[in-house]
Amino acid sequence: MLNKFRDPNLSRKLLDRLGDELDGELRFMEVCGTHTVAIFQSGLRSLLPEGVVHLSGPGCPVCVTHESEVNAFLDLAGRDNVILATFGDLMRVPGNNGRNLKQAQADGARVKVVYSPFDTLKLAKENPGDTVVFIGVGFETTAPTIAATMKMAREQGIDNLQVLCFHKTVPQALIALMDDPDTRIDGFILPGHVSAIIGLEPYRFIADRYARSAVVTGFEPVDILQALVSMVEWRNQGVARVENYYTRIVPDQGNPTAMSVMYEVFEPADALWRGLGEIPGSGLEIRPEWESFDAKKSFGVTISETPPLPGCRCGQVLKGVIRPDECPLFKKVCTPAKPVGPCMVSTEGSCAAYFKYQVD
């Protein structure tokens, strides 16, 4: 089945159609890092007609983790009786002074890379004298699993597991992008995995309020091309639509079970995004009933605006105002080996993708 979505001949035809239909410019943004990588890896980016302007948005949770959030977890690392548990991709994200979890670990902090939030249950059981703090970073895709982990911990009477909750939700970030006077986006490629949880409804405003189109789509070239062709056609017809082209994975109504677990434990709150600043209602906070799991409360963590990393243009990259290779630090000071900003750290960050795949 996959082959159909990778078929070079079909892709050719779609590319031709895209070229034919296009008069003027189409500025499209993919929200999800996995799409960014797919567009480069398949070579699609080099084949898109000139009028198609490709922007990579705030789609990687690692990239949008705010400097002050990074400082907050770096601050927790190394405290007595704290074991920090995290997904591996946060290990190299630099805080304000360039320090990261890898260095904290070398300095003696107890940091444990886990493959699933559920691994933290075992970790907590094995270390009864310590508090295991899981760094909760991610969108609607990861938040339900973490909520489920907290529920399990409560059922099993585990009281030394906490979550440092920095979860963010995608639709509100898109509103902020559309409201930003600096950005110009004609259409969105919507994330596959996030949409599998939240469904299509939360994106309707893109067409209704902003008269722009958006398509939920898969990660194969044919998927992506079909979405682009449709968005151009709709524009030519003078309509704006939000559609689901990824029905093989994403139900229109999302995953109500996952959503209800998520909202049982978390509630919407304002959140700070790297580069985008504070966006109302764009984050998740642990509900008062689950307060005993809230590392922010028990460690008195406060998140406030801290200055961005000097020289880093991640904010403009994330908003699609500049391309990564337009950042003066790109490839010079900032490389995957020595990243200045998180967009270069995450394997799916847009700067890393440009560094890795762009021919010249």
Partner: protein, 334 residues
């Protein structure tokens, strides 16, 4: 001998002697090694190629070989890539106390067989036993030496625009076998290490072709890293054709499960060969006539478009960079 390797065996005393005579000489013995002198006397003529490598592979036994055969193949192949006939190798064993004697025997036996097959003699060696935990089971170092038979030797800085890039067989088998075994994955029949001595085929190739520009075995870092090194030192662009890459379906399947790219996986029985375009057919014929080269094919060309870079022409016909890897390739986390 006891059924486990004890610290005594590395002491230099009787126990060491017993280990050498009852185990090492049994499998590796030859006229030179049997003399047990402090150093070996070698008979070499002309320009000489020499290479050394240390083998620390985990697991030490894997489908398709073990650390003993690997330690021979790795070094013999490195010497042969210079257009040389490998003649002698040395071996240094660092063994963790407590290693089952039967494991050691299997390893030494595999080393002996690999050396015989490659036509090299192990002429000197060393054994150390270290306390538990000081090494992981067993490390082996081998050094190989051979006589160079062509002038100029193939070299990483001799790729030229107009050359073709050939590979002797499928990509990624060894690396996936090792990582998969480590992750505890059982593979379908067919995925196993390709570890093999390439020297006989390589000698034929450099003798029969008028000019071979580059020979390299894409071991650690895989095809992508090796080609990046070549593109860099020759200051040319290597353009790879994704459609032409020989990758077993089992390997690409295993890679997608683990989130790995076969182009960055190690190979231990394959070589890359860059020759002027006009020798393509002849080179492929020679390679395909040999069992270890039967899947040989052309995977790319050398151009002057983007000097120092490796560009992948994708199945769609688009182009993207195939960069060096930053650090080690790790199975998927996210």
């Amino acid at each position: 001998m006891s059924d486990k390797v004890l610290l005594d065996y590395g002491s230099g005393g009787r126990a060491s002697q017993r280990l050498v005579s009852e185990l090492f000489l049994k499998y590796l013995g030859n006229d030179e090694l049997n003399r047990l002198n402090d150093a070996a006397e070698l008979d070499l003529k002309g320009r000489v190629a020499m290479s050394t490598d240390s083998f620390t592979v985990d697991p030490i036994f894997f489908p398709g070989g073990n650390i003993g055969s690997l330690a021979v193949h790795g070094t013999v192949n490195d010497v042969a890539m210079m257009g040389a006939i490998p003649r002698y190798i040395t071996c240094g064993y660092i063994i963790e106390e407590g290693l089952p004697m039967s494991d050691l025997e299997r390893i030494v036996a595999a080393m002996g067989e690999a050396a015989r097959h490659a036509g090299v003699n192990v002429v000197t060696g060393d054994t150390k036993v270290v306390p538990k935990g000081a090494v992981d089971k067993i490390f082996i170092n081998t050094t190989g030496i051979g006589e160079i038979i062509v002038d100029p030797s193939p070299s990483g800085d001799r790729a030229r625009p107009g050359d073709v890039v050939l590979i002797s067989g499928t990509i990624g088998d060894h690396g996936l076998t090792i990582l998969g075994t480590r992750e505890g994955l059982e593979f379908e029949a067919g995925v196993q290490s390709d570890s093999a001595a390439l020297n006989h085929l390589l000698v034929k190739l450099v003798q029969e072709l008028p000019d071979v520009h580059v020979l390299r075995d894409p071991t650690r870092g895989g095809v992508a890293t090796t080609l990046n090194e070549i593109a860099g030192s020759s200051d040319v662009c290597v353009e790879l054709d994704e459609n032409a890459l020989p990758i077993r379906p089992e390997v690409s399947g295993g890679c997608s499960i683990l989130g790995l790219d076969p182009l960055y996986l190690a190979n231990e029985g394959k070589f890359l060969c860059i020759v002027p375009g006009e020798y393509e057919e002849q080179a492929l014929e020679i390679m395909r006539a040999d069992a270890i080269g039967q899947d040989a094919c052309r995977i790319g060309v050398v151009t002057d478009a983007n000097p120092g870079k490796v560009v992948l022409v994708t199945q769609l016909g688009g182009k993207r960079l195939l960069n060096m890897l930053e650090g080690e390739q790790l199975p998927r986390i996210c």
